[in-house]
């Protein structure tokens, strides 16, 4: 495709657009707005202090009890809520500002995990459905600049016991040396952290991570950068690697062929034997230290790839994203599973079943809307994903056809500054109105009193 010519023509069209006239007071207006925001924040805090003091005197009404989970044991919630972006506020040095963000990684088994658009990792635990905002050591999303270059990688193992993520957080000392980077795996039950360094270039930002169905193997795709310091990031090439069970080294995936290595935008999957499947354009490449097979596919398929528990099949999307296909890695044979409907992203196969858990996407920008079980009998929604939630990584082993998900309490986030301000203002207004009403009632009562005869 002559993309160079398309680029040239787009440039010519763009040249025809006028240069925007930027108001000369933009800086002053912006700074005033920032000052105003700060004043409102301080005022809100004062108002809340006054309000809380007042309520403490008058007595607070009890809130309705949070709903109780209808399912016992470890499970995936039937609704996942987006975390308010104020919870991902940063300090000037980019560190997380909220006290709710914790570096205590011993949270028990996870049910779902994702990275907020602001770069903050979230894990919902499987026991209670509680939301944990994690300050992961060296997580590449901790650095705002790094998140611009590559979506930070994070994945929950199918059993929910481990959380894998890309690390690499450049500091001032990294101006003259490569940024230490790679993959870290956290045991969510013990809090132990395993570090798997990836060397080469100025550091590697790991973008996508996939566990094998048994959660022991890992495969990752990332970008080996040509430039990476605290203040700059850029260049580089796509790279991928495989991490064996318990290993502290990563095996570089080489020999895939120039075209495949240049375009790792498809997806990768790994089975319980450590065999990696690379899907790109119209080919499927099996790799186990060397290329085992290279198959031309009858149609273009898209990731993510979900590897069946026995490795005998892969679940993938059709090229328009609106269909779910079953792909036999041994033969390259493609079978339609679902042919119509919304976009479906395979997450994983259910145990002893021919069905897969999928993320359902909708709307113009195909944002996640639900989790569903998809199979030959159709698509059954099992959980709702609140608007604004990024595509989550799910502990598939906790989902079964009998009990796909359970009801959990909604997260209880602290009030926003706006809500606090509104509550404070409402309380003040209510107090003034009550005082006026009392005054009027008093005057009215006095007038009603019979006057004593002179």
């Amino acid at each position: 495709m002559t993309t160079e010519r398309l680029r040239d023509e787009l440039s010519r069209v763009a040249e025809a657009g006028p240069t925007a006239r930027i108001a000369p007071d933009t800086w002053r207006r912006a700074r005033r707005a920032r000052t105003r925001d700060r004043v409102v924040g301080v005022a809100a805090v004062i108002a809340v202090v006054v309000l809380v003091g007042g309520l403490a005197v008058t007595g607070l009404p009890h809130r309705a009890g949070t709903p109780v989970a209808s399912g016992d044991g470890l499970a995936v919630p039937d609704r996942l809520y987006a975390v308010p972006d104020r919870m991902a506020a940063r300090r000037d040095d980019d560190s997380w500002a909220r006290s709710e963000v914790t570096n205590d990684l011993t949270i028990g088994r996870g049910a779902a995990a994702w990275v907020m658009p602001e770069g903050l990792p979230v894990v919902v635990d499987a026991a209670e459905g509680a939301y944990h905002l994690l300050d992961l050591p060296g997580f590449s999303g901790n650095d705002r600049l790094t998140t611009l270059a590559q979506q930070p990688g994070l994945a929950l193992s199918p059993d929910g016991r481990r959380l894998a993520y890309g690390y690499g957080d450049p500091g001032p000392q990294d101006d003259d040396r490569p940024v230490p980077s790679g993959v870290r795996v956290i045991d969510l039950e013990s809090g132990d952290v395993r570090t798997i360094p990836v060397t080469g270039g100025e550091g590697t930002v790991v973008g996508r991570l996939r566990f094998s169905p048994d959660g022991r193997w890992l495969v990752w795709v990332g970008r080996r950068l040509a430039s990476w310091t605290e203040g700059s990031i850029g260049g580089g090439t796509s790279v991928a690697g495989r991490i064996a069970p318990g290993a502290t080294t990563s095996e570089a995936m080489t020999g895939l062929g120039k075209g495949v290595e240049a375009d790792m935008a498809g997806d990768v999957g790994i089975d319980d034997r450590g065999v990696v499947q690379v899907l790109t354009n119209r080919s499927l490449v099996a790799w186990d230290g060397r290329v085992l097979s290279r198959r031309r596919l009858a149609e273009e398929l898209l990731g993510p790839i979900a590897v069946r528990l026995d490795g005998s099949a892969l679940a993938v999307s059709g090229s328009d994203g609106t269909a779910l296909r079953r792909l036999d890695p041994a033969t390259g044979r493609i079978t339609e599973v679902v042919n119509d409907g919304p976009y479906l992203d395979p997450v994983g196969w259910l145990e002893d079943d021919d069905t897969t858990l999928v993320v359902v996407k909708g709307g113009e920008f195909t944002t996640p809307t639900a989790l569903a079980i998809a199979g030959p009998d159709g698509v059954q929604t099992v959980a709702r994903l609140e608007d604004g939630l990024p595509t989550p990584s799910i502990a598939v082993d906790l989902v079964s056809a009998e009990q796909p998900t359970v009801r959990r309490p909604a997260p209880d986030w602290p009030w926003s500054d706006t809500a606090r301000t509104a509550a404070a203002v409402a309380a003040v207004v209510a107090a003034v109105v009550a005082a006026l009403a009392a005054l009027l009632a008093l005057r009215w009562a006095r007038r009603r009193q019979p006057r004593s005869p002179r």
Binding site: M1, T2, T3, R5, L6, R7, E9, L10, S11, R12, V13, A14, E15, A16, G17, P18, T19, A20, R21, I22, A23, T26, W27, R29, A30, R31, A33, R34, R90, D92, D94, R144, L145, L148, A149, Q150, Q151, G207, R223, E230, G231, S232, A265, D267, L302, G303, P304, S317, S319, D320, G321, Y343, D345, K361, E364, F365, T366, T367, P390, T391
Partner: protein, 164 residues
């Protein structure tokens, strides 16, 4: 050099380039100007937190603000009349009109993805990240957008190539 000086220098140096991208994203001169103004205003509010080159940060605001506007107002996607278009040099006028009209007939998502991939030179992963969509969606949207351009304006087939 103060933050304000930095910002002023950045505005002077980068406004033309930001305007070009905004014009391609919106297809409208007035919207493009609003988009650049809004992006720079937001960047100025957060200027103290930007470390290093502010350009990626401002561009990201530009992309997401355009998507946000579209979501909020479901902007009409028909192009404005010729009086809103600035004068062009004579060469290749017919081709540019055709490509510009065809771009205007794409959906916002298709046009945005096309501009980010082929004008901004973002990779599929970077495009997905900037727009909050998956890499697979970027791929399929790119293909759909190019396919639609071919269908809408067959004479553009030579420009954008045949389907692979």
């Amino acid at each position: 050099m103060t933050d304000e000086d930095d910002f002023t220098a950045y505005v002077a140096a980068r406004t033309p380039a930001l305007s070009r991208t905004a014009y391609l994203l919106t297809g409208d001169a007035h919207l493009a100007e609003d988009l650049v103004q809004t992006a720079l205003y937001k960047a100025a509010k957060a200027w103290h937190r930007i470390d290093g080159d502010p350009d990626p940060y401002v561009r990201r605001i530009l992309y997401t603000q355009n998507v946000s506007w579209w979501r909020q107002r479901r902007l009409a996607e028909t192009p404005l009349g010729d009086h809103d278009r600035p004068a062009r040099p004579e060469s290749d006028v017919a081709l540019r009109l055709t490509l510009e009209d065809a771009l205007a007939r794409l959906t916002t998502k298709q046009r945005t993805v096309l501009v980010l991939r082929f004008f901004e030179d973002l990779t599929e992963v970077e495009t997905g990240r900037a727009l909050g969509i998956g890499t697979g969606t970027v791929k399929s949207t790119t293909r759909q957008a190019l396919g639609r351009l071919r269908t809408l304006v067959p004479e553009l087939a030579e420009l954008i190539g045949e389907p692979s």
